[in-house]
Symmetry: C2
Subunit: 275 residues, 2 copies
């Protein structure tokens, strides 16, 4: 599997992806799931992918040359000349549909769904930053102030910390830290997500970035974050009072109801009726 | 959906379940997913269920009267006379198969899978505590020292904290706190899991319990835990250094690679080759 997260803040964009793929647990490989498209001063875009690797690789290949012909005689739209991220996302959607037409039926014969999804975000000169989630049908949705992030792949383990921390006002580096904590929780509980990680941080209106890093187990920041988070989480856990059942010594008792009167069904003898 | 967790410790057993069910987001109801079976001094068992509510309710109904006929002339095994939790789990598996034979084909015609799973644990006089995960086929697995807990339903959000905290040596009340934190993280990120909660804590070899509680939003312990966990998690998050890109002022730099030399594919002009 995969875990990727893309975050849109007032201050910029953050993209993080893992690099583990698997076809069954006995066939685990490392493939990068992030790719950046940059024309410094004109456009900066990042694509993160999840799902069937043969599909996502084909889409990435085709995206380079995909052209969206809007009207006869007009220059076709590509990701390199699109005037807006919305148009660039349409080009990506079109590339997805090309691969669908080429491969979906053969995959179906093999019992496989056409399973792929993308996070695609960036900025093109003349408009603000935008972040999209592109589905296997080539359709897409855009991140908003209320929902400033998208996840693809194994998204559930790492969602609570994103929900607790992220708002559009979150500073860029804090959001990068949040994404790394989210990834760390995911790797703790799911073997199908693994190092190395790719992290890109983009500052609003720069139209290029040099904050691109591949993070492996030796990265000093990742090691510090991984160890501190685990240890401090444990300290916080320990600092919260255990439940006290009799309630006598606690400010926060778990009051014990008479089991008989609890709305919970407690069946005490085989003869007692169920309902 | 549903979230239930069952934990087996040296000191006893902990069971926690939510009570939300939904058939689409516009049809949300409250149904309890926990049921206790108790003959004080002889046996104490708890059943948690997830999946299709019509199936799990039918299984619970049938389980009361299910009989496993081992051999001609021998008394059939029920959950009330089983000599071991293993045999009781077999009776449960048999009840699941009865409902399968009754309903699975009609469900299939309606496009529905036979989707159900159970956590079933407890203690019968004469043996130690045991904890089982029972699948839709009526087969089951048992918790061990290495894997002291089972989850059913929306299990991913709340898994990291269980993985970080639980061992067989964890004290009972600490494990109850851990289950509540796990549930709290799940409810934070998934609307299909909701209050009230049912919590049962069973102390080893007691063969009964009075630690049975229904927890709603007014419960003082749950409120304290919910608020403290959210706030302290945020404090821990803030206490971890943000990544520093230039590395000059930090012990733990995110070193910046030259983007060109990063193994990440960064495509800087449309003419550059993809591979």
């Amino acid at each position: 599997m995969t875990y990727c997260v893309g975050i849109k803040l007032n201050a910029g964009l953050v993209f993080l992806s893992d690099s583990r793929t698997n076809a069954g647990v006995d066939h685990i490989s490392t493939f990068r799931k992030m790719i950046c498209y940059e024309q410094p001063g004109d456009r900066f875009m990042v694509l993160l992918s999840a799902g069937n690797l043969s599909i996502s690789q084909s889409v990435r290949e085709i995206l380079q040359i995909e052209e969206l012909q809007e009207a006869e005689g007009k220059e076709p739209i590509t990701i390199w000349n699109a005037k807006s991220m919305f148009d660039a996302a349409r080009v990506l959607g079109s590339a997805v549909r090309h691969v669908y037409h080429r491969d979906a039926e053969a995959l179906k014969h093999a019992g496989l769904d056409f399973n792929v999804s993308f996070i695609f975000g960036g900025q093109i000169k003349g408009e603000g930053m935008r972040l999209f989630l592109v589905y296997a049908a080539g359709n897409f949705i855009e991140a908003t102030t209320e929902t400033p992030y998208f996840q693809v792949g194994e998204s559930k383990y790492g969602k609570p910390v994103l929900d607790r921390v992220l708002t559009p006002e979150t500073p860029l580096d804090e959001a990068a830290k949040c994404a790394l904590v989210s990834m760390d929780s995911t790797m703790k509980s799911n073997l199908s997500v693994g190092l190395p990680l790719d992290l890109v941080v983009y500052e609003a209106n720069k139209l290029q970035t040099d904050r691109v890093i591949c993070i492996d187990a030796d990265n000093p920041y990742y090691r510090m974050m991984h160890n501190s988070w685990g240890q401090k989480l444990r300290e916080v856990f320990d600092s919260i009072e255990d439940p006290v059942w009799d309630g006598s010594a606690s400010e926060h008792p778990l009051k014990m109801p008479a089991a008989r009167h609890s709305p919970l069904r407690k069946i005490s003898t085989p003869e007692e009726k169920l309902i």
